[in-house]
């Protein structure tokens, strides 16, 4: 490494750094971590003094309180975030599905049995052969004690994931004609996110169909509903 020598770096140091910082092989489990993303767990080393522990505990209590208040106000927040991750995971690896089927009736039964969620998909239209939608399967997600069903499907030239959980977001959103809110998800490759609430269930849908934010709505609607907010 001539550049180093010109700086008069000690040869023993160069040698030792090259030896100690040599490349290594990644553990096999790394791919599993990417397939099943989870929040990294980090062990605290704040045991050298007591006050950081106390500060952390206080912070934790206040964070949990704030989080609970936040969830009570908007239970859809979690599911919206998850939708983007789910879309990304499905695009990266379809094997993560717990149940694979192209039949909406089978998927409905599976979701009902495993998540106690009723998901009424238009079976006749989806199985007619003329639909732009092709179902792939479903997956069950456990999030803070709540069961969330994720339905994976392809629509036109993209992928989509519909997440459903039991819950209520706002009174307005539980009306007979629920408001569908549209947004862009930068964290999931600029995917489209649609969320709404209906009949005591919260829905979030992420789609990678770049030019058509409503394409993923074809899963349930022959004619996608009007969007009320678009950013």
């Amino acid at each position: 490494v001539p550049e180093f020598r010109s700086e008069r770096t000690a040869p023993w140091l160069e040698l030792e750094l090259a030896r100690q910082l040599s490349p290594v092989s990644a553990p096999e489990s790394l791919w599993d971590r990417i397939e099943q993303p989870r929040v990294p767990r980090r062990q605290s080393r704040f045991h050298r003094a007591l006050w950081p522990v106390a500060a952390m505990a206080a912070l934790l209590v206040s964070s949990v309180a704030a989080w609970r208040v936040g969830i009570a106000r908007n239970p859809a927040a979690d599911i919206e975030k998850l939708a983007g991750q789910e879309l990304l995971g499905l695009t990266g690896n379809p094997r993560r599905l717990d149940f694979r089927s192209e039949d909406p009736r089978q998927i409905r039964n599976w979701v009902k049995a495993n998540a106690d969620i009723d998901l009424d998909l238009p079976a006749d239209r989806l199985l007619s052969g003329s639909s732009d939608v092709r179902l792939l399967g479903a997956r069950l997600i456990e999030r803070r004690g709540t069961r969330i069903a994720a339905i994976a499907y392809r629509v036109r030239d993209g992928a989509a994931a519909l997440l459903v959980s039991r819950g209520r977001s706002t009174a307005e959103a539980n009306s007979a004609t629920p408001t569908h809110r549209f947004a862009r998800l930068e964290s999931a490759g600029n995917a489209w996110l649609v969320s709404w609430s209906m009949r005591e269930q919260v829905y979030a849908l992420a789609s990678s169909v770049a030019n058509d934010p409503q394409a993923a709505c074809l899963l349930c609607h022959a004619n996608p509903p009007g969007q009320t907010a678009l950013n």
């Binding site: 700086e7 023993w12 040698l15 750094l17 990417i34 980090r42 490759g189």
Partner: protein, 190 residues
């Protein structure tokens, strides 16, 4: 250049949503990403977190990759940013029996030599972990990946002169901390 072209083909396949391409891209670059993460953090658990974060960022933003720079440079930038984002500075404070280092010079004590060699590794890695992040990352890119000043400069986002300066300061700092090991490594006796 064939490799670069293949990388580009894989990226394009990922952008089209071809699932196998994600795995192929991962397999090709996982050791590189993990090595940088491990050598920077000095901790296998943190390295896994950094590598995981890097690949998740990569896959989530791959549609926005336009090929203005090489894919490898882009990947390096992602892993470097993930390393620098690490809040916790890892310091491996391994206890050291100071006088025992002198025993490295004694021949014929293979088991003891092995123990001390392990201790030596810990000391060097600990010293690297103790460097400021901006110096540590250039040391890792230089010695783990063998990158040139210009390549490091492009990844870190500074001039080659700044890279040289950071390396120089890092070397001086490491030399100061590890000077007692100079004899122990045997390198200076060659």
């Amino acid at each position: 250049m064939v490799l670069e072209q293949t990388d580009r083909e894989l990226v394009e396949a990922c952008q089209r949503g071809e699932r196998d391409a994600f795995r192929a891209l991962f397999e090709r670059h996982k050791d590189k990403v993990y090595s940088i993460a491990l050598r920077y953090s000095g901790d296998a658990t943190i390295a896994m977190d950094i590598a995981q974060e890097t690949f998740l960022k990569l896959f989530s933003s791959i549609r926005s990759f336009r090929g203005d720079s090489s894919f490898e440079s882009w990947l390096y930038r992602l892993v470097v940013n993930s390393c620098l984002d690490q809040k916790r500075r890892t310091r491996r404070l391994m206890p050291l029996v100071d006088g025992a280092l002198d025993a490295l010079r004694a021949p014929g004590e293979s088991v003891f030599d092995e123990i001390m060699r392990s201790e030596l590794s810990s000391r060097v890695r600990s010293a690297v972990s103790g460097l400021p992040p901006d110096q540590r990352i250039v040391i890792v890119l230089r010695y783990t990946q063998g990158l040139t000043y210009e390549e490091i400069a492009e990844i870190v986002g500074c001039s080659a002169g700044t890279v040289a300066s950071r390396l120089n300061r890092a070397h001086k700092s490491l030399e100061r901390r590890l000077s007692r090991l100079a004899g122990a490594t045997g390198a200076d006796r060659a």
